[in-house]
């Protein structure tokens, strides 16, 4: 099983040099690059089918509406949702999580209720709950993380006791740790709690099945899975979505409006006030087609192989200097490598790598509670996707020499 050769050729940006060198893009956990197929699909939409949706009675508007709803159906199939009506388009994962907290959380939680998170969550799955906690007096509980970057589940029953919601990342954006979502969902349900999954790092890299996960809600974003920025998804079980109050008010989400009030339309449109991001939905559908063509099993196998190679090469070349965070077993993690490089500050590591055309992220990766657990203020992070190969890993390893030279003291 492997991905077809020459995959990089599908990505126009990867052919453009940076700083006079080959671009080595190792920041896909941040955002992915886009294949020509996605860029073309979006241009083609604007050139052939652009109109506002769900409004016009003319043919062009019908085609625009079909483009939007076709994308919704494709997303539903991609994550094995029961129906396209369970797919709500948002701006990104962050907005999807805020929708969940504002709508479901606001309607269902009150003083003394508990939401369980983990210490490895992205701020997008922390701050919305903090905001709700401040307003409603709910309690936030935290599943700890062990030194290898795995959830410590020994105390799970106590944490879930009386809790209303467990909201957990399926794959850590810092550690790459893949969490046992199905097991966690079963435990949550046993305690009468709902299960929400932040799958921002998971859906782009592993075949996703919301049914076998046993989740109630799941969020992800388009731009990390080869799609455009500006479109994300909240998936929820239909019966739950139907009970939830609307998130934002405006056009599109109403059944009727009078001077006295309004009534909402059906899901999913109830949650999609205003003109939606149709071209982005078209781009997202093209990205899903692209990944389907490759096969998600192959995508996962490619990234596991590459992660394994990178962990071996980096630790062999810098045995005393590099410390890679997260599980030591590549099969337990995604293609995300956060690392310390001697005493060189991550910001300086990233700066020196940039000189060699190697793009990595430096900082706290929007996961400050986790960085505190790891005992570091920041880390450098290299992350892989379908277009990365061994040569990219070698370029990273070579470029680190310069950091070692410049800061060898």
């Amino acid at each position: 099983m492997s991905l077809p050769p020459g995959i990089k050729d599908d990505f126009p940006l990867l052919a453009r040099p940076t700083r006079g060198r080959r671009l080595v893009y190792l920041d896909s956990a941040n955002t992915s690059q886009k294949p020509r197929q996605v860029i073309d699909a979006m241009s083609n939409y604007y050139e052939t089918a652009n109109a506002n949706v769900h409004r016009g009675s003319y043919d062009l508007a019908v085609r625009a509406t079909e483009a939007l709803e076709g994308s919704r159906a494709k997303v539903a199939r991609f994550i094995n949702a029961s129906s396209p009506s369970e797919i709500i388009f948002t701006k990104n994962s962050t907005e999807a999580m805020n929708l969940l907290a504002r709508s479901w959380g606001h309607a269902n939680l009150s003083t003394g209720d508990a939401v369980v998170l983990s210490e490895m969550e992205h701020h997008a799955n922390i701050v919305p709950w903090h905001m709700l906690a401040a307003e409603k007096g709910i309690e936030l509980r935290w599943i700890p993380v062990d030194p290898e970057g795995r959830l410590v589940l020994d105390d799970l029953d106590r944490l879930l006791d009386g809790a209303s919601l467990l909201s957990i990342t399926a794959m850590s954006n810092v550690l790459g740790t893949i969490n046992p979502v199905a097991e966690l969902a079963a435990a949550a349900h046993e305690h009468g709690a709902m299960m929400a999954v932040d799958a921002s790092q998971y859906v782009p890299h592993l075949a996703t099945d919301v049914q076998s996960m046993g989740a109630d809600f799941l969020v992800f974003t388009g731009h990390k899975l080869l799609g455009p920025m500006g479109i994300g998804v909240l998936w929820g079980r239909r019966e739950l979505l139907e009970e939830m109050p609307p998130f934002m008010g405006g056009g599109e989400m109403i059944l009727n409006v009078t001077k006295e009030g309004f009534t909402t339309t059906d899901v999913p449109w109830k949650f999609e006030a205003g003109t939606p991001m149709v071209a982005e939905a078209v781009g997202l559908a093209a990205a899903i087609d692209y990944l389907d063509n490759l096969g998600m099993e192959e995508v996962r196998a490619h990234e596991t192989r590459l992660t394994s190679y990178a962990m071996r090469v980096l630790t062999e070349r810098y045995p005393d200097t590099i410390k890679i965070h997260g599980p030591s077993e590549p099969a337990q993690r995604g293609g995300v490598l956060s690392f310390e490089f001697g005493c060189v500050h991550p910001h300086d590591v990233a700066q020196v790598l940039d000189e060699s055309g190697v793009c990595v992220r430096a900082g706290h990766h929007c996961a400050k509670p986790l960085m505190r657990v790891l005992g570091v203020p920041a880390s450098s992070r290299a992350s892989f996707y379908v277009y990365n190969d061994e040569a990219d890993v070698d370029a990273l390893a070579d470029a680190l020499e310069q950091a070692a030279d410049l800061f060898s003291f």
């Binding site: 910001h347 300086d348 700066q351 000189e355 900082g363 706290h364 960085m371 203020p377 920041a378 800061f407």
Partner: protein, 167 residues
């Protein structure tokens, strides 16, 4: 195109390797302020003792961060120690003006960086010697790093306000 040598000048790396005035001062009498760079997690703690003549009689720097933020803090501490509050404020102004992005420095075609090096910045008609601090000028060519360089200076400005205030 700016290169690493524009950013990591030897004198900058020297301050990073051997930071000056590193440590803490007893509070009170010292004033203590903290600064954060939310982007990269850098933290700077500035302690200053101001004597009855309004002179910064002692300064200490704590916290952690990248080479640029640490070197800038070290160089700042050396530059303001023993100076008056008003001198220190003028130095802050001069440094931040050096760090402000000028179009010429971003256009990429500035033929000679060193032609307009801000060794002397005039404010109110009086010259302020930036001296070694001029070595940080290359940071301007790396816009993402400007916040690293200015973090300690903004934190010092807060400390000066507190020291000069009701306290």
């Amino acid at each position: 195109m700016p290169g690493l040598e524009d950013l990591y000048r030897e004198i900058v790396l020297d301050h990073y390797r051997s930071p000056r005035n590193r440590g803490e001062l007893a509070t009170p009498p010292a004033v203590r302020t903290e600064g954060f760079n939310p982007l990269c997690g850098d933290e700077i703690v500035v302690y200053i003792d101001v004597d009855e003549d309004g002179l910064i009689s002692d300064i200490a720097i704590g916290g952690q961060g990248c080479s640029i933020s640490q070197a800038s803090a070290s160089m700042m501490s050396a530059a303001v120690k023993g100076r008056s509050i008003s001198d220190a404020r003028r130095l802050i102004g001069a440094f931040k003006s050096m760090m402000s992005i000028h179009e010429e420095s971003l256009s990429g075609d500035s033929h000679d960086d060193h032609a307009h090096q801000h060794d002397d910045v005039f404010e109110d008609g009086q010259p302020i010697r930036l001296g070694d601090l001029g070595a940080l000028q290359g940071v301007v060519r790396f816009p993402v790093r400007i916040k690293c360089a200015t973090l300690s200076w903004n934190t010092l400005a807060q400390a000066l306000d507190e020291a000069a205030g009701d306290s």
